[in-house]
Symmetry: C2
Amino acid sequence: MTIQRPGAVTLSDVAAAAQVSRATASRVLAGDGRVGAGYRSAVLAAAQRLGYVPNRAARSLRTRRSGSVGVVLAEPSAVVFGNPFFGQLLAGIAQSLNERDLQLTLFIPQNERDEQRLQSYLASGHVDGVLLTFYQDRDPLYEQLAKNGIPVVVNARPLQASSASYVDADNEGGAAMAVEHLLAEGCRTIATIAGPLGTSAGAERLAGFRRALQLAGRPAEEDLIRVGDFTTRSGRELTVSLLADRPDIDGLFVAGELMAYGALSALHRMGRAVPWDVAVVSFDDLPEAATTDPPLTSIHQPVEQMGREMTRLLLAQLDDDDRIPRQVILGTHLVVRESSHRQGGSSA
Amino acid sequence: MTIQRPGAVTLSDVAAAAQVSRATASRVLAGDGRVGAGYRSAVLAAAQRLGYVPNRAARSLRTRRSGSVGVVLAEPSAVVFGNPFFGQLLAGIAQSLNERDLQLTLFIPQNERDEQRLQSYLASGHVDGVLLTFYQDRDPLYEQLAKNGIPVVVNARPLQASSASYVDADNEGGAAMAVEHLLAEGCRTIATIAGPLGTSAGAERLAGFRRALQLAGRPAEEDLIRVGDFTTRSGRELTVSLLADRPDIDGLFVAGELMAYGALSALHRMGRAVPWDVAVVSFDDLPEAATTDPPLTSIHQPVEQMGREMTRLLLAQLDDDDRIPRQVILGTHLVVRESSHRQGGSSA
DNA sequence: CTGAAAGCGCTTACAG
DNA sequence: CTGAAAGCGCTTACAG
């Protein structure tokens, strides 16, 4: 909300300068078409000249809209901030909100109590809508918001709440692409380290892995599948256990990039040359992917775009008062780097 | 700002229910002492029972305070979000703002134009104060805010703007501790990978490195110093170049944890056993430090606490209208793990 | 197309 | 200690 600093310019000042009523000035500034062209330009000029900035609090009080959107990071902070995903998403959201002159009000509930308070805070109309962000499913939060009639858009397919509006990447298709690529590179025994199956990213990327192998006529063997938790550590540990059980593995699809860093480190330690002994494909395509050793082949998902899309969906709901849930799935693509590309090289 | 949803409870409702005037109800709710005890409890009970939530927009319009604090992430998003530091800081800020019932309005300017717009936005009083967050020095942003009389607190010592209020970790002391520890472990040739010297963290940690060696009577040799950029990649590359020039290095202080990950990976690749051939101490002590291979000895800085402290400083300025700049330096401490501790083990 | 007027919900001098 | 009243800056029926 705007607080006028000493000597701030108000709508009345603009109206006076343009020699019109406040009503007319307001209409011009709101983009209302029904205003004479002469008045229009006079108001615009005056506003410009005086450096007029509307007072959000006053507008808000009158319109009963807050002009701000709540963004909730509903994930333990260690998870959120170890992973650049959330930051990129935030950046996309911030940019698109900004363009529409909406404020981004951030919430990072750290425990049950925080979530309770947040719940009632949001329910009492301090924000016009909510962008809900998480990995692990957070049904209670979503359900309560929805129950209170607050427009909400979620950053991933909720595993249970079926009627939510959400934006997600094509996890399944991306994973399938990763596997097809490994097959094309000649891999015969392809394993995967999946993400937690309680997340859409975890479940769907594993589904894509299975589907691609199925399609190739070689259904996945269960002992080639491990489930991690998206941390570097789990990537490292599961790679070790995977290779211990199945030394014949020559292709590895890791469903998250932090886990892939762990996998690379484990493979080095075990003396397996990447990509010659084991070809590796990751998911996320973070900026770091190009700088690992060797650089990681990865499935790119347009994270900033996902943030922008979430905003777009929410605003559509607000503007049109249209509560039909929408799901938007954004495409992914394969970025080939050295970790999977056996360009005629040989084992070390 | 609060927008009352249909049927929302207003102060008038509370006053009516408690059979007092709106003025009295307002005083009770604001914690104003000069109200009769009977009225007080009646108002409190009524507010509770009706589920009263104050309308922030109305309050704002009247008090000329926005009730929100702007948090600016003034760092290219790749940098911000590759590093958990900013996330933890945000979490600390969010929590303490929340306790004071202040809204956190987030800004992530992505280019010069964004910064310009942000500048005038903040200057027109949409927030009561600003928490400015960066690594690389951002004087222009700070200076302009300060010039406009907006209370600002910065998350690191600005290298040039001398009059800023800021919170920082004891970078120099922490770095010195790291070096003392390496000396105590018997290292004879200690090198460092510093952060960018245009950041307080970079410059001060290097100063601490020099100071500790000086104090031990063995001033730093210049070819044992490299300057990185806080990325994993630079850590890896500089470790390689360092060891190539000076194969006798047996102790390494890496001034940022992402760089330390790169250093570990490079040392593995070069066949140097950590800690026996080269002992490594890092800075930051992120949650990941305990899970690297081997686990990293690191200087812990209380990041969430820093966020809370920034908020505290800003609020003090707002409440007391006291513009005396304050600097708060929070202590760091050494967390010893295997990367530096030669517990009678031997080289692989 | 334009303006006079009401009113959003709150806080705070002011008077008693 | 308490209340009646004014007013923060804006938008929007309403009347013309």
